[in-house]
Symmetry: C2
Subunit: 252 residues, 2 copies
DNA sequence: CAGTGGTCTAGACCACTTA
DNA sequence: AAGTGGTCTAGACCACTGA
């Protein structure tokens, strides 16, 4: 107890940048997730304990944690406690999965790996992932199918600058588990993805892998995935034969 | 004062469906928007006044209003008050606009109306808008351009069941203003849109209007717009030549 | 200056989980 | 029964707006 962090409270400089106490607390709590003190799925101290520790009221801690919950950073469960969010089984298990089959029967696509290898980032890759020249990346290509019908090709590039033990990565890549793997093995939490969608014509490679004629309209999804510390971790381009699937969004 | 609505507070039935006070207040406040007592852009009574009126504490009213603000239903402004949200100039002015030009220079597309007419809903339209047979709809087709280059065709169907004064609608339809018009003239607030995206091949009609060859890949956006009372108000299908524009989304 | 929403506190009690 | 998050209250003070 008595960590006695120097909080501004409502004193000090009168104007410059007013930062409410609860936001300061929130930042401190996020730090403890970033440093790995609290890992995904781990139980946080109770509101009361945190309030004592930071010498603020329970209500202030509550507001900080409520914002973190709204950011999908923690999950609160009445009677149990507050847990650091995990990519799977968080609030919405399909948070970053927007491609769904037109038949609601087959929920999840199957995945077949076409290639996995590491290399030096190209100019384009460096630009998309904000990497320095000479950076190493992992590239993988996957073919995904709904109901046995191949309909998605994914080309994924991952910044492996900070990730050691590549053999483990290559060995453990499993369908749909990339974000979970990053989270569990490397403590990299993906909290945000930015996507751009376009319609493009299938080239020869697409045509072969998706069993469509060259020129067939494909839905292209260009995604950048960002980690909790705002690093661009993954660049993924998916090309989809959207005759039997679609990309679903809801805006409020 | 003293409206004395019968709130459950924490009494009555012990279990059935526990509904916190602030959620009951929220529903009552939403009702007052739905009935038109509080219209878009209008100033709500202060938290203190509402607290007196419903005989609860200010904190409870605050929590109700905070949720409404999170739902984009009202906008709060420190020092000024709480206002019913309007479609334009609410929190994010481009809430439902996801199509952006690749050149960040030209922000907004220009719009050219191709046709506007009313008619009886087809089977498909009835299905998409959940309408009874014989329902009347307004159909309009628009061509939108970025930088003088036509790149979007929109086919819009609007349920005009509850909307009188059709001449006014036909007369006042202006680019990008449909949701504002519905809000200002008919008190229909669009609060949510559900979209499905696919890639399709341009047919002859598309090809002519977009100046592309038949078979050219187009991004198709199929949208249903829902009003505050959950009615399906609009069905819109947009077909886009996405060579110079894209659909941008961000998921958190 | 008064009035608004925004923050912070302290304390009481409720709903839920676990042991 | 103890411990957690969830609700509700009451009161104080802060930041911002507009007359």
């Amino acid at each position: 107890m008595g960590k006695r962090v120097t909080l501004e409270k409502q004193a000090m400089d009168p104007k410059p940048e007013f930062q409410p106490l609860y936001l300061q607390i929130k930042q401190l709590l996020i730090q403890r997730v970033l440093t790995g003190e609290w890992r995904p799925a781990q139980l946080l101290p109770s509101e009361m304990k945190l309030a004592e520790e930071y010498d603020v009221s329970q209500g202030t801690v509550r507001k900080a944690i409520e914002e973190m919950a709204a950011d999908n950073l923690v999950v609160r469960q009445q009677g149990k406690g507050t847990f650091v969010a995990t990519h799977r089984s968080s609030s919405q298990p399909f948070r970053f999965i927007r491609l769904v089959s037109d038949q609601s029967s087959d929920r999840h696509p199957t995945t077949k790996f076409i290639s996995i290898k590491t290399g030096t980032a190209t100019a384009t890759e460096r630009e998309r992932l904000a990497l320095p020249s000479g950076a190493r990346v992992l590239r993988t290509e996957r073919q995904r199918s709904f109901g046995g019908h191949p309909c998605i090709i994914e080309r994924i590039v991952i910044d492996i600058g900070g990730l050691p033990d590549l053999d483990a990565i290559l060995d453990r890549l499993r369908p749909g588990s990339i974000y979970s793997l990053l989270e569990q093995e490397y403590r990299v939490m993906i909290v945000r993805v930015v996507e751009e969608l376009r319609a493009v014509a299938a080239d020869k490679g697409d045509a072969k892998l998706l069993d469509v004629p060259v020129g067939h309209p494909l839905l292209e999804i260009d995604r950048i995935a960002l980690s909790l510390d705002q690093r661009r971790v993954e660049w993924r381009v998916s090309r989809c034969d959207s005759r039997f699937l679609h990309y679903a969004v809801e805006h409020t």
